[in-house]
Amino acid sequence: MKIINFCKALILLVAFFGSAGFAQSNKVLIVNSEKAVYRYETIATEFKKVLQQNAYQWAEFNLDGHANAEAELKQLIEQENPALIYCIGTQAYSLVHNVAPNKKMLFSAAINWRRLDVGAGTYGVANELSSAQELSLLRYFFPTIKTIGLLYNDSFSREYVETIKKDALASGINIINKPINDTQEISGALNELLPKIDIFWIISDPVVLSNKESVRQIFQAAQQQKKPVYAYSDVYIEQGAVLSISADIATIGRQSAGLAMMAEQDKVPGGTVQSPAGSMVTLNKCALDALKLKFNQDALDSVNKIVGCDQ
């Protein structure tokens, strides 16, 4: 090729890219991991309410409704060119991360967000409350507690458990954690763990909490060994947990919308992951009394809901 032709080609290429605008739409694409999952859907509904109030446009994509979700999602992203993609759940985040790694992304309802590859253009609302905050509340309720035990799966919760351990160390609490790979290991792990601890902490680990049977096993073992159970969600109060501090799901949706709007306008630094803003403290007075567990009466002021034996 003559040099003049080569230069012509280069000028053409530069002109291609120079002529195009860089204007951004303010459309948000909501990618839901599974519409049938209550938590995901509640978050999506609340998220959309806030967007509507602020005159934002959005498009939705539910992963469970598509046989070839990856290709269709990629096409939709190209078609809609959203300013931000809101990923509800880990599955959605994982797929979007692969399909459009350079897009601005916001996630929520992803268990243990620290395992995700959160880059500069990624924002999030954590699924778990701040473990430092939880530990401090636990300490407030049960001042005599020295050792907390928990089960977890390394694939899903390693980073979260490491954070808990660091925060516990700062609070003067000892954490005994035991990794499991399968629900069949729960029983043995509990037998080993429970005698060594003051309270058992149920974290949102999807392997430990695989089914109702694994939940039943945990509470049965804890009851047999007269150990109180603290849980991340109030759904375990009925099973026998003495205390729960749960993140409010609807608030996560609204909080995400606020963060999305700020992120879209670059008003918040990239990589920001917020802890859930709303929480609810539930105390199971019945389980507490049955275990004859001492607790700080002043802490009752912090409780949103007290469950008695008749409830």
Partner: protein, 670 residues
């Protein structure tokens, strides 16, 4: 009293229903929570999983996706490989192409291992290499091509010497129905493809691909041959006769954890120049058959412990008629088979550590030799065989540990020992690390060795008046050290710089033993070193889907103090993709190749360098997302350029490559 009883009954009923409702709500809440956890359990996004990203691997890897292939407007695998840094493609006199990797090029590309869905394709035991039938592999059914530059014998065994090219084709899930495509272009090129895939409810799945390709070849002018320069009767001046036609049939059948897959290829080709130093007329015919059949199963022992098992049978045969003089023909043919199995255990100690170990065994066999000669291709008579029937048994054991001691650090340690019944054992280690020392900046280092097993033709060549086989040959060896850095300085920008140094020893070369006779010997060594620079910027916003990228290699390969012949010291690829909208996009590619020097004693001037511009236009998802259309122009400015002809053909100059060429392609989904 009745009123009292009925009130009591209603009260009891109400209380009961209320209690039931409470219980039901509580159970619902737990069920909802467990359903959420189950949904989260579906995907494991672990640190180690993330580190399988190209950035985090220890090896230098380039991945070309289906989308990239569509934009390139690739006509075959070669058009895809051309864009990979460190890889160059050139024409041979016989027809197949040479794949140059990191400054090292050989006529049979036997130092490059090509794999299809992880299965090695070096089925030609006589001459090694996979370029025979896989160089012009159709690309319509390809989902991804992964090119790993550097030695891979520690995991893949023989012949993963300079690079591993793994071609991943579409499976049942990718197809999900019927897809067809057709392409037409210059040189009477035509391509047709039909693929069908379906996943059934009972876990069964099936994917079938069929390709047909035919071309008359580029008809390159051949000004002279050894006869014409003496004033004797010959086909020269004339044109190259590299017609190529092929059928490919691929299948992937799965049920539960079992999978049966394979590919059959029949390829017929003419020749570019010919087998001897005379220009062949159109009576040279190469006929290749190649297939493999693999039955595999994944055994899930525990969540963190799986075992992959496979049995395979590979087949390769050729039956070629070569014109060696205007009225003299030889026919040569053979059949090669490789039958064996492999068992590989994958143990995930934790997200931070995975151990892979395995054992493989294969029996390789060569037979059904055909050697004939005569003046009439229809009436040839048997001659002495030029090679021998041969059986080889080999086994290998390997172990690899991938360990992330920190989230930002990955260490890889591996080794493989292979034992052959004919030349003994060979041990090949591999080690490396990847360290993300600052967010988005990773440093790589690796060291590894690899080997290429002597081919049957090199061991047992016989009755050849000018070249002798050598049953005492040892494998060729390479030791490679490489280090590099990958960085994402700003969103959308990926940059990579790699330095490599390879020492190739015990090269199997043709060494003169008498004035006119040579013999295969382990002789000589090559030092190849170079730097590969890559950068790609993906646009966002209105230009979502557009990118510009560039790669440049500076390579220096030395044998006996001289730069290797026919290998450029610089090669650059510039590419740009502009997505006009959701449907239309255009693609531009500029290849700039440095001049190449000649062999010692070859007095021709260096082969001049050149720059070529290709342009393409692609329309995707048209007419209800059912139709894709593309049109590409190669060598837009009709640049005249040449691939080097071997020193033995120095009297003809070099091979003139294709001028401006067009290719149009239509793809339909049902």
């Amino acid at each position: 009293m009745i009123k009292y009883l009925s009130t009591l009954l209603i009260g009891v009923l109400l209380l009961n229903s209320s209690a039931y409702a409470n219980e039901s709500t509580e159970h619902d809440s737990l069920e909802k929570e467990l359903a959420y956890l189950a949904a989260e359990r579906k995907v494991v996004v672990t640190a180690s999983k993330m580190e399988e990203h190209v950035d985090k691997t220890v090896a230098t890897t380039t991945v070309i996706t289906q989308d990239d292939i569509a934009h390139i407007g690739a006509r075959n695998l070669l058009d895809v490989l051309r864009l990979v840094p460190g890889i160059g493609i050139t024409q041979t006199q016989f027809g197949w192409r040479e794949i140059e990797v990191r400054g090292v090029k050989t006529g049979l590309s036997e130092k490059v291992q090509i794999m299809l869905n992880g299965h090695p394709l070096d089925h030609n035991l006589q001459n090694a290499g996979s370029a025979w039938v896989y160089d012009d592999l159709p690309v319509d059914t390809i989902k991804r091509v992964e090119v790993v530059r550097g030695p891979g014998s520690a995991l893949y065994g023989a012949n993963a010497f300079l690079a591993v090219i793994n071609i991943i084709t579409q499976n049942a899930k990718d197809l999900n129905g019927l897809q067809t495509s057709a392409g037409w272009g210059s040189f009477d090129t035509q391509q047709y493809r039909a693929s069908w895939g379906k996943q059934f409810k009972n876990t069964a799945e099936a994917a079938l691909h069929f390709n047909f390709t035919d071309t008359n070849g580029i008809n390159s002018p051949i000004p002279a041959d050894s006869l014409s320069v003496q004033g004797l009767n010959s086909s020269a001046p004339g044109k190259s006769q590299l017609t190529e036609g092929r059928y490919d049939l691929e299948w992937q059948l799965g049920y539960q954890d079992f999978k049966l897959d394979g590919r059959y290829i029949n390829k017929k080709a003419g020749t570019f120049f010919g087998a001897a130093s005379i220009l062949s007329d159109n009576r040279t015919q190469q006929d290749y058959n190649d297939y493999f059949l693999r039955l595999s199963r994944i055994w899930k022992i525990k969540d963190n412990f799986t075992v992959d098992t496979q049995l395979f049978h590979d087949y390769f045969s050729y039956d070629n008629l070569w014109q060696v003089a205007p009225t003299q023909f030889i026919r040569s043919g053979l059949q090669d088979t490789r039958t064996g199995g492999e068992i590989q255990a994958n143990y995930h100690f934790s997200d931070a550590q995975t151990l892979i170990s395995g054992f493989s065994y294969a029996k390789e066999q060569q037979g059904n030799l055909i050697d004939e000669a005569g003046s009439d291709p229809a009436r040839l008579t048997p001659t002495l065989t030029t090679t021998e029937e041969r059986i080889r048994n080999r086994w290998g054991v390997y172990l690899e540990d991938v360990w992330d001691p920190l989230k930002s650090v990955r260490l890889t340690l591996g080794a493989r020992y292979d034992r052959y019944n004919d030349f003994g054992g060979t041990f090949n280690p591999r080690m490396g690390f990847n360290w993300e020392f600052i967010k988005n900046y990773s440093l790589k280092f690796s060291y590894g060795t690899a080997y290429r097993a002597p081919a049957f033709g090199e061991l047992g060549l016989a009755n050849n008046p000018i070249l002798l086989g050598n049953p005492m040959l040892k494998p060729e060896e390479v030791k490679t050290f490489e280090t590099g850095i990958i960085a994402h300085p700003v969103a959308g920008l990926t940059t990579q710089a790699t330095y490599y140094h390879s020492a190739i020893n015990q090269i199997i070369s043709q060494v003169p033993v008498q004035s006119t006779i040579s013999k295969y010997e382990n002789s000589g060594s090559v030092i190849a070193e170079g730097v590969e620079l890559e950068a790609r910027y993906d646009f966002d916003g209105n230009l979502q889907g557009s990118y510009i990228s560039a790669n440049h290699v500076l390579q220096h390969s030395v044998q006996l103090g001289r730069q290797l012949a026919d290998v450029p010291q610089h090669r650059t690829n510039l590419t740009a993709l502009w997505a006009f909208d959701n449907t239309w996009s255009s693609f531009a590619h500029v290849l700039i190749k440095d001049s190449t020097s000649r062999n010692l004693g070859d007095t021709r001037q260096d082969v001049p360098g050149y720059a070529l511009l290709d342009l393409g236009l692609l329309g995707k998802n048209m007419f209800g997302k059912k139709v894709d259309i593309s049109f590409n122009v190669y060598n837009l400015f009709d640049k005249r350029y040449y691939d080097p002809a071997s020193t033995s053909l120095n009297f003809i100059g070099d091979y003139q490559m294709a001028g401006r060429a067009f290719f149009g392609h239509v793809s339909l989904k049902f």
